[in-house]
Symmetry: C2
Subunit: 193 residues, 2 copies
């Protein structure tokens, strides 16, 4: 029980840290700011977390680990390449809707990771992009996808969904499901009829 | 002749400022850095430019004015809606390839504009987005485009091309024309065959 409370507090610290980093940047957020946000003295936060650097590290690798483990699962399915790519787009959109602050931090503040973690994070991102690109390449080879440049397709897709994290919230007049369906239509079938 | 030299120097200052702002951010760039980059004393730069704020303003409004005047031209043509939207995507890609640093500054550093300029810039951007969205809406009504949510289509397109400014350079193994053609295929016809 005591452990569960401790874990909950740790998660609360991480969640609030992600929101603060997103709003004010990693450099613009102090442990004091974070303490005020979660209602704890900076000193007692250190019972749950070692440093601001560690918080950034946990958030960034939580996001990259999610992408990489999901990619590995998707690669192993027997689905068509179109469906595999749809599953990856679904993953990006869902993660932005459900965990937008963490995704924003992993997209924008990863450069403040300490040197060894920075290298590991860049390598993880590169591996993910390679895996995603390989699915596109195989889909083109299988005749399922348009014969476009693989890097162009990869970065257009990754970039195309990024605005969701900044824009989407309840009250936009569109459900998460409709949003996702619309983006799938645009990226897989195109805007033109 | 003296005037031409002066204008050239002014343009050089603006071009180098855009590159520095892109690399180090508006806040991270001093007039001294800029002077070193263009090979002029900070004091003599003030013969060409009033302030760092003014430089930012000129760069941001150069970009927004380009978008807005091109949109007005495109709106007046008799082309199909598909072709009008292709013309806008062409404009975004070209501006990123030919004037990438300025586009980057207008995308990322606009928030450092002084209060009245900031409002004017946000209004200009809103007007541009409204005009772009109206073309999508009319294209859907005319049956030329997929019946997707207009905001989703607008932001997906605007976001989808943003990576070009960060990625594209000669030596990527793809010409600017091929890059553009590939992105058009993806956004208008989709990745799936």
């Amino acid at each position: 029980m005591a452990k569960k409370v401790k874990n909950n507090k740790r998660q609360l610290i991480l969640d609030e840290a992600a929101k603060l980093f997103k709003a004010k940047g990693f450099g613009g957020t102090s442990m004091r700011d974070l303490g005020a946000q979660v209602g704890m003295e900076a000193a007692s936060m250190y019972n749950h977390i070692n440093s601001k650097d560690e918080i950034l590290e946990i958030i960034c690798f939580h996001v990259s680990d999610t992408y990489i483990s999901q990619l590995a699962q998707i690669e192993q399915t027997q689905a068509s390449y179109v469906d595999k790519i749809k599953a990856l787009i679904h993953l990006h959109i869902r993660l932005m809707i459900e965990d937008g602050a963490a995704v924003s931090v992993a997209n924008n503040d990863w450069k403040y990771l300490t040197a060894d973690k920075l290298e590991a994070f860049k390598q993880a991102r590169k591996n993910y992009e390679k895996g995603f690109a390989a699915l596109i390449e195989q889909g083109i080879a299988a005749g399922e996808l348009q014969p476009v440049n693989t890097s162009v397709a990869l970065f257009t897709i990754l970039s195309a969904v990024r605005w969701v994290e900044l824009w989407y919230r309840p009250g936009r007049g569109i459900t998460a499901e409709e949003l996702e369906e619309n983006i799938m239509t645009l990226l897989l079938n195109g805007l033109a009829k």
